[in-house]
Amino acid sequence: MTSEKKPGKTARYGMMIDVDRCTGCGACMVACAVENNIPPAHDGADDRNGITWIRVFQVDNGQDYPNRRSAFVPVLCQQCGKDAPCVAVCPQQAVQVDPATGIVGQMPERCLGCRYCMAACPYHARYFNWWDPAWPAGMEKTLNPDVAPRMRGVVEKCNFCHGRWHAAKQLAAADGHAIEAVDYVPACVEACPTGAIRFGDLNQPESAPAQAAKNGNCFRLLEKIGTEPKIYYRSKKDWVRQIASAPKPGQIAPKLAGKETSRG
């Protein structure tokens, strides 16, 4: 991010996730949940109906010991840059792209809970509130006052920590300049102990995601669908880069048998 940037100029916030650095510790998931007031999992919730805006998947190369290799792939809303599948399908405009940041935003207050956007998302990065949000007694004191908890029956997803963005915007306004991408980082970026997740403006050539976009070791998930995700992954390993493509039963799928990390 450069200081020469003109106030009001549009940005395209994105991320670069270095898969080779990710240890699968799950700190990003915890930080995300705390930052965004995601309630503790309800009794009976499992990996398919719980809420976690960022989810770390474990993948391996399918080889036997001693050639077996594992990697961890954090998956969050890919913030599609073109024809985001969830935006067009929402019947009541509860999903909108902020032209100033390129962030695909979800408005739970307007959401009908039809879940059409969830069916439309190929990255499975949208979550439905199957239960009323509830915090154990006393734990509600830990709630982030900048983020409204969502009610039962609505969809939610990663918004690059909108609460933080808003606070940064106010601070920037107080300082007399427009918000820059470097003025804030999402909670997952801050929490990652290995610095595997980096955040920036794709319109700024020196930002980590913009650099990643030009790097041969970088890939995006399901690029051929044409949604132009703004989350870039990086790995020097060929077999990891293969996960960008579609599943192929009987060939790649068993080798890349995905499972979620138990830390999540």
């Binding site: 109906n49 069916a119 439905f128 199957w130 009610m151 995905g258």
Partner: protein, 425 residues
């Protein structure tokens, strides 16, 4: 007890027998309402849907019943716009079936959404790019049209006719029938298509995604044709069933054959269009998105058999049966073919709803399975029970089959002649 409500000249079973018939359906409806109530009060955690299987049994049910209920608009279109007068024998029944199917689908949708009290948001903040907006608008409007079409049938009830203002109102309403048929056809074409478009536009689900014409994917047009094809089949099937259950002749065999011929013709067009669409999807659309189509069918149990069943077994075969005059004249063949056509459209809707969501999209994704909970099944059964009850009550007290009286007289005459002949020999 309720004789004064039953139309003159037709025979209905005793009140006790009728109550005995509706009792199990009422029990099923009560169970279903309890299930739906649990979902509304406790939330959708009562279902087995989840973040990955965001749609389940209910959306499958909605798509299927709305396709089957298409007989209402299509019969109206054929009768009032294309002037196929023979179909006046089944139009009332078709309207009741349509009303039941559409109102049932909307009731289930109200349970299916997480925030049913926000239903009006779609009208207040409509996203004109969403197929679901189009579906919501058209279905709501068409349900109103169906309710207006149902009113004259209701007001022709023997007891209600005694109220002069009702009679006048019914007469005036009947004058609107051509307008209603036209509006209904327009709305139905759009929402049947939009329901197909719901999946066809899903770029992120290459199994369902289809290319198309302007903003409409090919599934938009396939849904219209398939619904128009099975609508008459479902009317044929229900009419035959009602004849069997009530042990009465309700329509002339020629009417059922005409319905079969129309259904067969449209089904043949659908099979042809579906085949072309599948070939384009296999050879171009899906590979372009990075998903060779063959891989979808490698995930068991969804093998290529499902394509064969959809296009050949429940498409081409019933179409050929219904288009062959010799087979069409045999009730067994005709009814079986109509049932197969209905099963075919249900299978098509199942594939788009369930198979689409079961298939993985990411390389580290799992193939998913889903089985509805008893609360989901109960709500599903409530719609079936509701349909049977509304139809049963309508059949008992309203004139769903205008030729029934005439046919009853003919049957009596035939029996008389047989008796005379028997006496003679």
């Amino acid at each position: 007890m309720d004789k004064q409500y039953i139309a003159r000249g037709v025979k209905r079973c005793s009140t006790a027998r009728f109550l005995l018939w509706i009792a199990p359906w009422l029990a099923l409806l009560a169970f279903g309402l309890y299930s739906a109530g649990l979902c509304l009060v406790k939330g959708l955690n009562q279902t087995n849907m989840d973040n990955r299987f965001a749609f389940g049994l209910w959306i499958f049910l909605d798509l299927t019943v709305i396709a089957l209920g298409a007989g209402a608009f299509f019969t109206g279109f054929l009768l009032y716009i294309l002037k196929l007068k023979e179909l006046s024998a089944v139009i009332n029944s078709a309207v009741v079936i349509g009303l039941v199917c559409y109102s049932g689908a909307i009731a289930v949708l109200a349970v299916d959404v997480g925030q049913p009290l926000r239903f009006w948001f779609t009208f207040w903040y409509p996203n004109v790019h969403s197929m679901l907006t189009e579906v919501t608008f058209c279905i709501s409007c068409y349900l109103t049209v169906l309710a207006i079409e149902y009113l004259p049938i209701l007001l022709r009830n023997r007891k209600l006719r005694q109220v002069p203002s009702f009679l006048v109102f019914e007469h005036e309403l009947h004058k609107l029938v051509y307008v209603l048929a036209g509006v209904g056809t327009f709305l139905s074409f759009f929402h049947q298509g939009s329901l197909g478009g719901l999946y066809g536009v899903l770029r992120g689900r290459p199994f369902a995604f289809r290319e198309g014409f302007l903003v409409w994917p090919s599934t938009f047009f396939l849904f219209i044709i398939s619904a128009a094809a099975v609508g008459p089949s479902f009317i044929l099937l229900t009419t035959w069933l009602v004849e069997k259950i009530s042990r009465k002749r309700l329509v002339r065999p020629e009417v059922l054959q005409l319905l079969g011929r129309i259904s067969g013709l449209l089904l043949a067009v659908y099979v042809l269009a579906k085949t072309v669409d599948t070939l384009i999807w296999i050879n171009r659309t899906s590979p372009d998105a990075g998903f060779p189509a063959a891989q979808y069918y490698a995930w068991k149990p969804f093998g290529t058999w499902i394509l064969f069943a959809e296009i050949v077994l429940f498409g081409m075969i019933p179409a050929l049966v219904m288009l062959t005059p010799r087979l069409r004249r045999r009730t067994g063949w005709l009814v079986s073919a109509a049932a197969m056509a209905c099963l075919g459209v249900a299978l098509n809707r199942f594939v788009l709803t369930v198979q689409t969501l079961a298939l993985p999209t990411l390389a580290f994704d799992k193939f998913l399975s889903y089985w509805p909970s008893w609360q989901e099944t109960g709500t599903f059964l409530a719609v079936v029970a509701y349909g049977v009850l509304v139809y049963s009550v309508s059949f008992r007290y309203l004139q769903l089959f205008p030729e029934e009286r005439e046919l009853k007289a003919e049957v009596q005459q035939e029996q008389e002649e047989l008796r005379v002949m028997a006496g003679r020999y």
